[in-house]
Symmetry: C2
DNA sequence: GGGTTGACTGACCGATCGGTCAGTGATCTA
DNA sequence: TAGATCACTGACCGATCGGTCAGTCAACCC
C-alpha cells in the first residue's frame, strides 16, 4: 500500500491518487459525505472501486484527506492588510473585496467548510476549523485593533466584532447568493464587487445620516482596476 | 392508508404520526437527509419501520413534510418593526435582537434551512426558501426603505443591502457560534445580546471615528459603477 | 353477529453500501 | 532470471439501505 496520507509530492497530478482526491473533493462538496458513494468517486476518477481503498484506507480517511488538502494552500490575502500603509479604510476595502472573491472562486472548498460547520456535534469539525481559521482570524483582529489604537477607528468598537461582521457578510453572501438572486429588491446578488463596496461603506460609516456629507455614493476603491 | 400529508389536525400531538414527524425533524436537523435512516427515525419515534411508511409514502415525502411543518408557524416578528412609531434606530435594534433570538431558539428549523441552502442544485430548495423568506424579506426591505424616505437613514444606502447585512450577521452568528467560541479575541460568542447590540451599533454608526473627513474614505464616486 | 376500516407489525425484498481479497501485469533490483 | 514491489482490478462479503406485503388487532358500522 502506498502512502495513504497526501503529504507526499503534489507534483505529479496525473496519477490516480490525485484524480481520486479531486473527484472526491468535487462530489463531497456537491452532495456531502453521506450522499457520496465510493463507487461514484471511483467512476468519476476513472478507476475501479477497490483502487480507492488501495490509496485510502477508508471513506473517512479519504474525506479527511480532502479536507486537509482543501485547507492547505489556503493562503489568504491578509498581507494586503498588513503590508501597506494606506489609510485603514482603503486597506479594509481591499481585504473585503479580495476575501469575497477568494470565497467565491474556491467555491468547492467553501462548500466543504460550510458542510463541516453544520456538522458541529463532532469535536473534530471545530478543532479542524479552529486550526484552519484561528490564525488568520487572529491576524485580522490584530490588524483592526492596531488601526483602532492609531485612531483610525472609533475607540469603542470591538475588533473581533468587526472581523466577524466582515467575514460573516462575505460568507453569507456566498451561502445565500442563489436565494438573494430571486428577491426583486436585491440588485447586488450577481455583482460581488458592488456588494463588497456597499458592505464596506456601511461598515465604515453606518447607515445613519449623522454627519451627512453630500457626495456619498459608494465608490470603486482607489486606483486599482477591479480585475 | 391515512392522509400522507400533514395538512390535517395538528391537535392530537400524541399519536404516531406526530411522533414520527418530530423524530424526523430532530434527526434530519442533526445529521442531514442522507445520514438518517428510516429505521433510526422509527426507533426514536417508538414505532416500527413499516409504520413510518404507513404514514408517509417515502423517505422524501417525510422529509418534505418535515420542511413544510418547519416553515409553517414561522411567524416572524416583523410587526415590531412595522407597528410602532419609535425612532428607526430603536425599531431596528428591537428587530435585530428578536430575530437573532428567534433563529437561536428554533435551532432545529434553522439547521434544516441551513442544510437546505447548500443543497442548492435542486430548484426545489430555492423555490421553497424563496416562498418561505421572500415575503418577510420584502417586508423588511420595505420598512427600511420607508425609514430612509423619511430621512431616518442616509439617502444612499440600499435597503436590501441593510436587510441582507442584518439577516446575514444573525445567520452567521448562528452558524459559526461554536467556532467563534474558541477564538480568544471573541467575547460575544456566548452572549447573543451583546452581539446584537454591537451589530446594530456598527450598522447604524459605522466604525470610523465621528469626525472622519470624507476624503479619507473609499473614494466617493461621481458616475455609476461599471457593471 | 359479520364486515369494513385503519393503525400497526414482523418478515421479507432487491439494491447498494463500505470494505476485503486473491490475483494480474508492469517495473525495478540483484 | 528470480524475486520483490508496485498500482490496479473483478469478484466477492456481510450489513444496511428504502420499501413492500400479508396479516394481526381493535374500533366502529350495519
Amino acid at each position: 500500500m502506498p502512502q495513504a496520507s497526501s503529504l507526499s509530492s503534489p507534483l505529479v497530478g496525473n496519477d490516480a491518487h490525485h484524480r481520486i482526491l479531486a473527484a472526491a473533493e468535487d462530489l463531497f462538496a456537491e452532495r456531502g459525505y453521506d450522499a457520496v458513494s465510493i463507487h461514484a468517486i471511483a467512476t468519476r476518477a476513472g478507476v475501479c472501486k477497490a483502487n480507492v481503498f488501495h490509496h485510502f484506507t477508508s471513506k473517512n480517511t479519504l474525506y479527511i484527506a480532502v479536507l486537509r488538502q482543501a485547507c492547505r494552500d489556503s493562503d489568504e490575502n491578509l498581507h494586503k492588510l498588513e503590508g501597506t500603509n494606506l489609510p485603514f479604510a482603503e486597506r479594509l476595502a481591499g481585504f473585503a473585496r479580495e476575501h469575497l472573491s477568494h470565497v467565491l472562486e474556491r467555491h468547492k472548498v467553501s462548500r466543504l467548510i460550510q458542510r463541516e460547520m453544520l456538522h458541529s456535534d463532532s469535536s473534530r469539525a471545530q478543532e479542524m476549523a479552529e486550526k484552519v481559521f484561528g490564525d488568520k482570524f487572529q491576524r485580522l483582529v490584530a490588524v483592526i485593533r492596531e488601526g483602532r489604537e492609531q485612531g483610525e477607528l472609533r475607540a469603542d468598537v470591538d475588533p473581533a466584532m468587526v472581523a466577524t461582521l466582515l467575514i460573516g457578510a462575505n460568507v453569507f453572501f456566498f451561502e445565500a447568493r442563489d436565494l438573494l438572486r430571486h428577491f426583486p429588491d436585491v440588485s447586488f446578488a450577481a455583482n460581488p464587487e458592488r456588494y463588497s463596496r456597499h458592505l464596506v461603506d456601511i461598515l465604515l460609516r453606518g447607515i445613519l445620516p449623522a454627519g451627512t456629507p453630500e457626495k456619498t455614493l459608494v465608490k470603486p476603491a482607489v486606483g486599482k482596476s477591479p480585475t
